[in-house]
Every structure is written in structure tokens, then in C-alpha cells.
Amino acid sequence: MILSSHFPVLIVVAPLFAAYLMPLCWRWKRGLTKPIAVTALTLSFLMALNMAFQVLRSGPISYHAGNWQPPWGIEIYVDYLSVYMALVVTGVGLLILIYSTKYSDKMIEKGNIAIFFALILLLIAGLTGMVVTGDLFNLFVFLEIASLASYALVPIAGSKGTKGRFEASFRYLYMGAIASTFTLIAIGFAYMATGTLNMADLALRLVEAREAYPTLVLMSLGFFVVGFSLKSALFPLHLWLPDAYAHAPAPVSALSSGLTIKVMAYVIIRLFYSIFGIAFVSSTGLLSMIQIIAALAIIIGSLYAIAQKDVIRILAYSSVSQIGYVILGATLLSSDGFTGGLLHILHHSIMKGTMILAVGAVMYKTGKRNIQDFKGMGRRMPYTMGAFSIAALSMVGIPPLTGFVSKWFLLLGTLEAKSYAFTFVILASSLLNAVYYLRLINYIHFKDPDEGSVRVDEAPMTMLIPIVILGLGAIFVGMMANIPLTLISKAVSSLGL
């Protein structure tokens, strides 16, 4: 019995299993809640790492749940792109979970702590499930687990949360439910046209179905794109996002921004490249439309971010802008652009994770997060704010940090695709990023704190370590970009670019 051959399913089942245990633990053995959560996710991360080596060594893994052949049973299909996303999701998720173990003590209502961890595990399991699955309806099921968990995580802080948290959660649910229904309809159309739910099989049969049922295939694609644009907060469907981030606890904002919307963008990439076929998508004219929307998202998200006073809202609008980069990179039809878009997923997960967690650490200490309250924070919490600044500089795209590498590839991509307007968009947006991130850095390091502000010191170790690891990740990935790039370049070439 080789256990490692079951990793594609165990990577999802491990966090789920731990989540099921949470209510029992909370009732009878409270001390075990956090260790079990962290252990389960560590296992998941190790499995993802192992799978990355397996995939690099011997190609994509196909796992048949219940021993049924793919079109009949559910196939779990791990290729280069999936394993890359799985690594990002479990790795960043694990760091955020470690951070939450301390954060939850003070910032989450006591009765909700076990539920908080269970929901985080469910969210990460849902996202991992979406990433590794090879079946369209299975994707929907895990999408619902992840979505329901993330709606519920917004107001989880209970009486320690902000006042608008229920409304933010309701708005998120409202948009998310519409998106889920659209996705279900799209799956129905795809099934109706082809008679299968397996992604690989679907890709083959859609070629014929395009002739036989052209409207059906087109509608399916349209509903998918609208649904997942809503879920990934692609401009102009981002309206739920700033509120949800501003009212959620910091680790939850970090998870949504770093992972959830990235996985939704991954699904769009998967739909375009592995299912519908990028040539077909581009022949419908949808691709150029999405390019323009993504470019608008990049610019308008940055402009909104400049206008904000609340640091979390700055970061939230910045996410709207960054998801634009990912989508733009994926739709440029150039291998360099695609590489840049995929690298941007990793880059942005790490950077946004660092920054939101750092802001969370400040809130943990002072309870405030207005940009004014960050004056002089650099002297009081040097390590936290150091990591924050590295991440901010990386977002601006200063070499040798990651942001520079991914933006460099994106620029090459726009040049390769001869879309010079987008070259200009990326350059302009770097400038806009610089405006608001350098303003933050200026406040943090070069301003004196206000008279009578709260005196605080460094964040506790359990919170500091994840922040610093993520911050160092910016330097590490930037310097040694060839490590993720080996995986990404294989992913790009396996998807046909």
C-alpha cells in the first residue's frame, strides 16, 4: 500500500477531517483545537509538496475516487497548474492559520473560536478541492463549501467585530449566491451540450458540441465567466469585496484576498485553457473584452485605493487591481504574459498576506487601522512593519522583489502580444501603486506618532513569525524566481502556450 498515491484526495480530506473534529474538541478537549487544525494543514502542505515532486518527475496524476473510470466517476486530476495552486493555497493558508492561533484569542468571541478554525479549515479544503478536481460538478460542490465558509467567516468575530459586519456578509452572500447559481446553470448547459461532466472529456466533446449546439456552448461559457468574475471580484463586479474585507477579521481578509479570489481566477484560466479551448474563447470576442475589463480593473482599482483612508480598504481595492493583472496576463495569449500572470498569483498571495496580517497585528495591539494611526509604527513594531514595507515595495515592483519579476514578465507578454496599450496600463498602474504604497511607507517610517497615541511594542511571536516568513518570501521568491518558474513554465507549456 503506497500512501503517497492517495495524496490527491488526502490533501482535501485531511483539513476536512480536522474540521469535523473541531466541534467535538471544543466540547471535550479544548486544548486540542488549535494543534489539530495546524497539524492537518501542515500535512496538507507536505502532501502538496510531495505531489509537486511527483508531478515534476512523472507528469500529471489522475486519481479516480471510488475506482470508477473518469467519465463515470469523479476524477481528481493534478497537473502542473493544479499542483502550483495547491502549493500556494496550502502554504499561505498554513501560515495564516498559525497566525490565527494567537490572533483568535483576543479578536474572536470565545464561543466562536472552534467554529472559526473549523471554517478556516473548510475554506482551505474547499479551495484545495477546487484546485485539484477534474470534474465540473465536483468543482461546484467545493466552490459552495469555500463560499459558504467565507460568507460565514466575515461576521465571525461576534461582539468583538465591527458594526457593519452582518451587512457586509449579507452583501457578499447575495453576490456569491447569484454567482453560484450562474455557475450551476453553466454546468447544466455544458452537460446538456456534451453529456459529460469530466473536464478532460468535456474538452474533447465540446469540439463537436460547438457545431451541434452553438448557442448552448456560448451561453455556458458566458454564464461561467460572469459567475467566476463575480466570485473573483473582477471589476465592475467587485462591489462586495471592500466591505467584506473591511469587516472581516484580519486572517480572513488575508485568506480571501490571498487565496479565494486567486482560486476563482484559476478557475477562469482552467475554463479558458483546459475546457473551452483558448482558440474558441478568443474567436467569440470574449477574450478581448476580458482584456479590456482587466485593464480597467487595474487602473480603477488603484485609483480607488488612493482615495481610501482605512488601510484595509486600501489593500482591498489594491486586490481588485491585482486580480486584473492575473486575468490580463492569462488572456494575453503570450507565454510570457501567462507566466507573469501565474507568478503574480504567488506574488500577490504572499504580499497581500503579509500586509493584511501586519495590519491585523497592529489592530491586535492598538485596535486601530486608520492611516493616521500608522504614524511612526515603524519604530514601535520594527519587524512587523519591516515585513509590511518589503511587501509594499514588492507590490510597487522594485527589483529584486517578486513584484518586479511578475510585472517584468507581464510587460514582456504585452510586448509579445503587441498590445502596447496594456504595456502602458501596467506601467501607469505601477506608478499609481507607488503613490499609495509609498504614502503608507512614509506614514509608517518617516512620521512621528501623534501625541497621546497608544504605546505598543512588537506583536507576539506566533503572529510575528508568519508575517516575517511571508515578508522574507518576497525577497526569496524574487531572488530565486527560477524555482516557482520551473513549475510555471511547465504549466504554461502544458496548457498550450
Binding site: 471510488g66 467554529i115 471554517l119 473548510l122 465558509a149 460565514a152 456534451t194 449546439y213 448557442t215
Partner: protein
Amino acid sequence: MIRKWLIRLIFIVLLGYLVAGFVVGLPPFGSADAPAYTHVVPRYIERSVVETGATNIISGIILDYRAYDTMGEATVLFTAALAILSLLGGEKDD
């Protein structure tokens, strides 16, 4: 008021467009030759009794061929229960 009527108008136009332009493109209702019925499903119908032992084909599908989905479905229920408990449930500290 104008906004309300505008929304209604957009909806009715969309509806008309969909009914006329889209429903025509579907495979005929009740057809046994539609791809939905001819590709994957025949195996479920012909062999589910032998392969899963269930005479109810739907049980055979949801709990054997696609049991992994159903695990996810039970998890959705679990998530919903936790979500509601986090809002309205149990012990609160003040």
C-alpha cells in the same frame, strides 16, 4: 420610479431574447438522442445494479459513482450548521 421601470424593461427584453433565441437552440425536450442521455448515462442505467448493487439508480450514482460529491454535500450542511451556530448559537462571553 424611472429606475424601477428601466429594470423591468431590461428584464423583459432579456427574457424575450432568451426565450426566442436560446430555447430554440436546445436539444428537443424529452429526446432520447440528446448528448445528455447518450454519452455517460447508459452505463449508469445498464450496469448500476451489477456494479453498485442498488436498484435505485440515483442512490447508486450519489453514493457510489459520485460518492466524493456527496461527501462535499454533507460538508456543505456541516458548514451551514457551524455558520448559523457562530451567529446565533450557544455560549457567549460578554
